[in-house]
């Protein structure tokens, strides 16, 4: 009996994290929307392994949302995007020029929009980096 409780206790983190992963995976399969972004702080929007980005609603195509209105309040004011340092260096010119968009998985059901990709010239940043090698 004690051994069973012991094993169950150990599985608590596995179960919680597994359930959380499933929830996030299902959230990432919602409809995709693209939001134009710009560097949060032009002096230092790359910090270590993150990239700080802020939605630019003036450049965003609002026709992809219901009633052609961008639901700004449903999005955060700033986002961080995990990226390797050497990759962020290559993308800095594009971010400065405002040619990047964040792709979100978006649903109106009260879920927070989830970042699914960083688009550079309409392509995934990984694809873009491979082409510009």
């Amino acid at each position: 009996m004690k051994n069973k409780i012991f094993a169950i206790l150990l599985f608590v983190p596995v179960i919680v994290l597994g359930a959380y992963m499933i929830k996030l995976i299902s959230m990432s399969r919602f409809e995709k929307v693209e939001v134009a972004v710009q560097g949060y702080d032009p002096k230092d929007f790359f910090s270590g392994y993150y990239m700080y980005l802020r939605p630019d609603w003036e450049k965003t195509d609002c026709s992809q949302f219901a009633d052609n209105i961008c639901p700004q309040e449903e999005f955060e004011q700033t986002y961080t995007f995990y990226i390797k340092r050497e990759q962020s260096d290559k993308l800095s010119a594009k971010v400065n020029a405002g040619d990047v968009k964040l792709q979100f998985s978006y649903s109106k059901g009260g879920f927070k929009p989830l970042i699914t990709d960083l688009l550079v010239d309409g392509k995934s940043f990984l694809e873009y980096l491979q082409q510009t090698k």
């Binding site: 051994n3 012991f6 150990l10 983190p13 596995v14 992963m21 392994y49 961080t80 995990y82």
Partner: protein
């Protein structure tokens, strides 16, 4: 005889915990290295499989009654959970917030300290650091007014008291639960826990974590010193006085020293006047300004333990000072060789005097110094591998020494 066995286990345990700490940090570094070539699904499934394998290793080691190994696997598991939380954040591009991650970790990994009580010492500071994140969450539920000044220095007099009181009661309750589990496991009646001891420990941890969170984003000011250092000194003095009154040995002054020294030092470093220059010059003997802090701290702690006749703390201080000496030397071959010779001399004399503890210490110090020689790895991916490798090497060395020591000392005893 029993005492000697206990001391040996203590030595092994400390080193094995250190090794699991390295393995755990290595795993987190591997996650941070952001392996984009591996598909996200594979990363997530791999992480879950690794967790299940780790759970299996803990269960098997418990079943085989390998208690020390079980503790090592549980400690690695604690870090693995943190690594998987980081991985989820990375894969799904969630907003990075260390405090939020710590809180999440402490909420899901509490079963671990019921199994291995030592993990509580990792759990408590991370929980406190994580609780720091709670007020903004509560703000959205309760209202703006109450928590609006949480992050300002001036708020130290109001909310933190509420925060510390509530969290102290919570942690005290956890201690009681933990005590109950330990007593049930050992088949004993629940013993009395000294409330003052735990309350003071928790209070100091709270203040320490609160102070540490400031270090990340605040400039040290006079107001800060007044609001952080002065309460620490007052609380520490009261605890110290009460403990002395009941003639009880207390580690509280060491916590107090840690807090006061850390913040005095940071404060002095921020001051670019003569005093700041002097501290920089003293610590400049070694590579960075902050290198001098542990030296000052451990020297004072050593003096304190010597004055109050606390032999266990004395040994910890001596060990920490040797570690400091070895690790802060320049990482080139010319400083490596004297260090190894130094370790060899200690090992030789320890063997002649039949002092197992210092013999083992010398061997481990030599291993650590060799590992330190290769620690300057720039690439995060390789650094993670280096940490995992180092941890595993220490685990193997400790297990080997434990086995080899028995043969070595038994032969000597026979002679």
């Amino acid at each position: 005889m029993e005492k000697i066995e206990k001391k040996e286990n203590y030595w092994e345990t400390v080193l094995l915990y250190f090794a699991s700490f390295l393995v755990g940090l290595g795993m987190i570094a591997e996650v941070a290295a952001n392996w984009q070539q591996i598909p996200n699904e594979a990363k997530l499934i791999g992480a879950l499989v690794l967790m299940i394998v780790n759970v299996g290793a803990i269960v098997i080691s418990k079943w085989a009654k390998k208690n020390l190994l079980m503790q090592v696997f549980t400690c690695i598991y604690a870090f693995l959970i943190a690594g998987v939380i980081g991985l989820i954040g990375q894969v799904f591009q969630l907003h990075s917030d260390v405090a939020k991650g710590c809180l999440f970790w402490s909420l899901i990994s509490w079963p671990l300290f019921l199994i291995v009580p030592q993990i509580l010492w990792l759990w408590i500071p991370l929980f406190f650091f994580g609780v720091h994140y709670l007020p903004p969450c509560l703000q959205s539920l309760i209202g703006e007014g109450i928590f609006s000044d949480w992050n300002s220095v001036g708020s130290m007099s109001k909310l933190p008291l509420v925060y510390l009181t509530i969290s102290t009661i919570a942690v005290y309750a956890l201690f009681l639960i933990y005590e109950y589990f330990v007593c049930v496991r050992n088949g004993k009646n629940s013993s009395f826990i000294n409330p003052l001891k735990f309350y003071s420990a928790v209070l100091m941890w709270g203040l320490y974590c609160r102070a540490s969170s400031y270090a990340m984003d605040s400039t040290v000011t006079i107001g800060f010193v007044r609001e952080i250092l002065v309460p620490c000194i007052v609380v520490g003095c009261i605890i110290y006085a009460v403990n002395r009154m009941f003639k009880r040995e207390s580690f509280m002054p060491i916590f107090l020293l840690g807090v006061v020294l850390q913040w005095s030092y940071v404060f002095v470093l921020n001051d670019h006047s003569t005093l700041g220059g002097l501290v920089s010059w003293v610590s400049g003997i070694h590579s960075t300004d902050t290198d001098g802090l542990p030296l000052i701290f451990w020297l004072i702690a050593l003096a304190y333990s010597w004055y109050h006749k606390m032999p266990r703390l004395q040994k910890i201080c001596v060990l920490a000072l040797i570690t400091w000496l070895i690790l802060t030397l320049e990482d080139n071959i010319f400083s490596l060789i004297p260090c190894l010779i130094y370790c060899a001399i200690i090992a030789f004399f320890a063997y002649r005097q039949r002092n197992k503890k210092w013999f083992n210490t010398a061997i481990i110090m030599a291993v650590l110094r060799i590992l330190f020689e290769y620690a300057d790895v720039q690439n995060l991916q390789y650094f993670g591998m280096y940490l995992v490798g180092s941890g595993l090497l220490i685990i193997v060395t400790v297990l080997f020494l434990t086995k080899y020591n028995r043969i070595l000392w038994e032969k000597k005893d026979e002679k």
